[in-house]
């Protein structure tokens, strides 16, 4: 994925080479390399524990890499970390703010650590508060804010030093759908209007699909695929591959096993009690699947030819679903696949 490096070098803001992080015996990030272009929204997608956050922490100088290097705006993240820090902002799932300080006081405190002249900082704080409609609450203690308001605060805190690169680590984790949409729109706006390069980690397929120009799929400490969403989907929706959604009235596990045993079936997923999602290849695949189900007296109510989703791509590449290892507690993630289908149809 690094072919054409020489061409990219000039316009890439972030260059990562063989970045590795080990904790004792555990390899959290295993020699990953990628470039992020200026003004790009780059997504790191993968289940929890895939190494996304560790990668982000290394790039934002919060953790030292064990091996390998990376540069941001030409500055090495280890040797020149102070310069890197001037260029970046970080939004993590943890709220970086003090509950007992007011919104203004919080921004003032973090801003003052960047040696911004007083007058400039005052003006910037007012502008940022206005930008996320928190001006009304500027003198209220942050502890009294709703989760959505706090996350908006969390994002503008990262913008105090007008960063060229913004890191977002699971920025919508634990937020309600409406707040998530607000944050995503805001991130897009920042990218478009302020030309900020953005790196975002997420385990939500939809989020990556909606936001990112390019997506790196991470699994078990490695980047297993990296491309635009469209190109990634092409990996499985070539001429040869078909994604079928079958509604079978009398769906049994025996029936599922039958389909799974077919030579043409790449993957079979049971969506719910009556729906089966099958990825198949080959010209005759369509007929083969239907024949096999009929032979076992399966009653097919309806059948649909689906566009591939990133979920399918992940499944195709890694052989397991994101949900298998992702945090089950987040409701939005559990409903993800359904929301996705509706949107794509």
């Amino acid at each position: 994925m690094n072919e054409g490096d020489s061409q990219l070098e000039t316009e890439s803001t972030i260059a990562v080479k063989n970045l590795t992080k080990t904790f004792d015996d555990f390899v959290a990030v295993d020699s990953i390399s990628f470039d992020v272009k200026k003004g790009e929204i780059f997504g790191l997608l993968g289940p929890n524990g895939a190494g996304k956050s560790t990668t982000l922490r290394m790039l934002s100088t919060l953790t030292r890499p064990t091996k390998g290097t990376a540069t941001i705006g030409g500055h090495d993240i280890v040797k020149n970390d102070t310069e890197v820090r001037k260029l970046i902002g970080i939004v993590s799932e943890k709220m970086i703010m003090y509950n007992r300080l007011t919104a203004r006081e919080n921004l003032w405190f973090f801003g003052s650590l960047f040696n911004i002249p007083k007058a400039v900082l005052t003006k910037r704080i007012d502008e940022l508060l206005e930008l996320v409609q928190l001006t009304k609450w500027k003198n209220a203690q942050v502890g009294t804010f709703s989760t959505g308001m706090r996350q908006r605060m969390n994002v503008i805190r990262a913008l105090l030093n007008m960063p060229q690169v913004l890191f977002l680590d699971e920025p919508t984790l634990g937020l309600d759908p409406q707040s998530s949409v607000e944050i995503r729109d805001f991130v897009k706006k920042l990218n478009r209007e302020n030309k900020i390069t953005i790196i975002i980690t997420t385990h939500m397929m939809v989020e990556a699909d909606l936001l990112c120009d390019r997506i790196g799929i991470m699994d078990h400490a490695k980047i297993v695929a990296l491309d635009t969403s469209t190109n990634l989907k092409k990996l499985i929706s070539g001429k040869d591959t078909t994604i079928l959604s079958l509604e079978i009235a009398n769906l049994t596990s025996e029936l599922i096993e039958t389909v799974r045993a077919l030579e043409c079936a790449d993957s079979v997923t049971q969506e719910n009690s009556a729906h089966l999602k099958v990825i198949v290849h080959g010209d005759e695949a369509f007929d083969t699947v239907i024949d096999a189900i009929r032979k076992k007296n399966g009653k097919i109510n309806s059948m649909e030819n689906l566009q591939p989703t990133l979920e399918d791509v992940f499944l195709h590449i890694t052989g397991h679903q994101v949900r298998d290892s992702a945090d089950q507690k987040i409701p939005i993630e559990r409903h993800g696949p359904f929301a996705q289908q509706r949107r794509i149809r």
């Binding site: 820090r85 970080i90 405190f109």
Partner: protein, 399 residues
């Protein structure tokens, strides 16, 4: 990065910490209550001198059969005892029928002790023999029984002297009153303190508690404050700013020191206002010493911070260190009371020297030359610990 920016960032961080502290009402109340409790409890539980024990129920049995018709010796004794007791209020005297009655009542817990005047008391004295008195004590309460013994011995001593002087004057009427005392008690002791007045136990513990509170606030407050920010995630917000790592630790230390000094002032005010402690030395030197104490503890605080991954570990680590230090540093009990191996341990604890120096200044009005040994030890300890701590801390920050 210049020292000025480093300091300015440190002040920002300290300011932020203090803002958080002042907005926390309950925390503020506890900040005042904690030293108050400690002073009150320690001050009242441990008696400043014998006088604080009073109204002990003690029974008296007079079995004196007399000599002829006279029971003069036992009557003089009882009168003397009642007279002394009415001055001190030490005992609540009652009568008992016999020795076994006293023992019964001590076992039941109605009495703390008893005095038995045997039947031959007057007879012995009037026939030129020693008169013997029996004290019954409650062995289950050694401290009270020791007090009763000591007080009664004093009473007996005083009465014995009185009797002896009468005897001397009877034998030789030429001897006058003061000469008779010199014959009976040729030696007299006079106590002269370094400063005037009679220091109480509060004078002893107030400097120690001050030193402990201020120094501990850094040792314990620093790890808890930093590990808490690490857990909540706010530490990342500081770490990702282009500031020197030292300004984080320096700012936190400043904040905690300010907190500790506030507590120190509260203790001082309580000690002077409520417990009648007088400060004989310079207040400036007192605060200088407290700051030096803080400096000697910062290193330990930073090392704990670096080792503690989360707040719980930090709290446990500091508790483990705090308790031995509290009791081994001579804050509550004089070091001389401890067995030799404990005395050896207390000699390596900086708190020992800080409280010792503070006591010298506050109680004895000592000046800098008198506490130069303690000052040197505290400075050396602080420098060595800080030199160890800073590299450890830097490693922790860039893990």
């Amino acid at each position: 990065m210049g020292a000025k920016t480093l300091l300015s960032h440190s002040f920002r961080i300290a300011w932020k910490d203090l803002m958080e502290l002042f907005r926390n009402r309950l925390g503020l109340v506890l900040l005042i209550l904690m030293p108050l409790f400690m002073m009150v409890m320690v001050g009242f539980i441990y008696p400043s001198n014998g006088n604080s024990i009073s109204n002990l129920p003690v029974a008296l049995v007079n079995e004196d059969a007399g000599y002829g018709n006279s029971t003069i010796a036992s009557q003089t004794f009882i009168m003397g005892l009642q007279q002394i007791n009415s001055q001190t209020g030490m005992f609540v005297l009652s009568n008992a029928s016999s020795m076994s009655d006293i023992k019964d009542r001590v076992q039941r817990g109605d009495l703390d002790g008893g005095i038995v005047i045997p039947s031959n008391f007057t007879a012995s004295i009037l026939s030129g023999k020693q008169g013997t008195l029996i004290i019954v004590t409650d062995q289950s309460n050694p401290q009270i029984s020791a007090t009763i013994r000591a007080v009664l011995s004093g009473v007996f001593d005083q009465m014995g002297t009185m009797l002896a002087r009468q005897n001397v004057q009877m034998l030789n009427p030429a001897v006058n009153a003061s000469n008779s005392l010199a014959i009976v008690k040729p030696y007299d002791v006079q106590t002269e303190g370094v400063v005037s007045g009679n220091p109480s136990y509060f004078d002893f513990i107030a400097p120690g508690i001050m030193a402990m509170t201020v120094m501990m606030s850094v040792m314990t407050g620093l790890p808890v404050a930093i590990s808490q920010e690490k857990e909540v995630g706010t530490l990342d917000g500081m770490m990702v700013a282009p500031i020197n790592r030292l300004s984080i630790i320096l700012g936190k230390t400043l904040g905690q020191t300010a907190r500790g000094l506030i507590q120190g002032v509260i203790i001082l005010a309580l000690a002077v206002g409520l417990f009648g402690v007088t400060i004989h030395g310079s207040i400036l030197l007192v605060f200088g010493l407290l700051l030096l104490g803080v400096f000697s503890f910062v290193g330990i605080g930073i090392v704990i911070t670096s080792f503690a991954k989360d707040q719980e570990t930090a709290t446990m680590l500091m508790m483990t260190l705090m308790f031995p230090m509290m009791f081994l540093s001579g804050v509550f009990f004089p070091i001389q009371q401890m067995p030799w191996y404990m005395q050896d341990i207390s000699k390596v604890l900086p708190l020992t020297y800080a409280s010792q120096a503070l006591r010298k200044v506050m109680v004895l009005g000592a000046e800098i030359p008198a506490i130069s040994t303690e000052l040197t030890i505290l400075i050396v300890f602080g420098v060595v610990m800080t030199a160890i701590a800073l590299p450890v801390f830097k490693r922790m920050m860039t893990r």
